[in-house]
Amino acid sequence: MMFAAAAAALLITMLLVLLRAFMGPTLYDRILAVNTFGTKTVLMIAVLGFLMGRPEFLDIALVYALINFIGTIAVLKFFRYGDLGRAGKGEP
């Protein structure tokens, strides 16, 4: 019951965040919204694991957290430099 309520709260938040992702107005707003949406997804997967009594879901949540972080960084790097292979500042 409590996990159903928590899942409902997360769904409401994901809807609000999705609205921001659609509204923009700038590219950065959308990236911020998608990153926040990803964090909510991690929590959602964990809550669903408890709701359905399947603790294996936590491993998926952990992997999703990793993908979410790397995805955000990759998109930002791509839009900043135009390719993903470029070294950062301070390197040749």
């Binding site: 709260a9 921001r20 929590l43």
Partner: protein, 118 residues
Amino acid sequence: MIATVLDAVSWLLLIAGSFFVITGGIGLLRLPDVYSRMHAAGMTDTLGAGLFIAGMAVQGGFTLVTAKLLIILVFILFTSPTATYALANAVWSGGVQPRRRDGTACETIDRSDGPLTS
């Protein structure tokens, strides 16, 4: 008896977490520009996620489930500021100036001559 108390604690933590997560979502819609929206996003990533995970950990007890939950929390707490900094730095380098609510550029206060002594 103990199960009832633990359930109540979980309820409290999850409801508090839901409050902060939804507040973050509302803030993401209400706040005026991308810089101030980052504060709302940070709210869901820190206390929202923390309270959610604490609520689930109380149900998990002293098991591997709780350990995994804590690993997820630590991971979120380490990556969230890094991602936010990367985004803020990209916005700043992209030439977007932070705005006040009325649309004017906000002022810059220089405190680099040392911390306040008062």
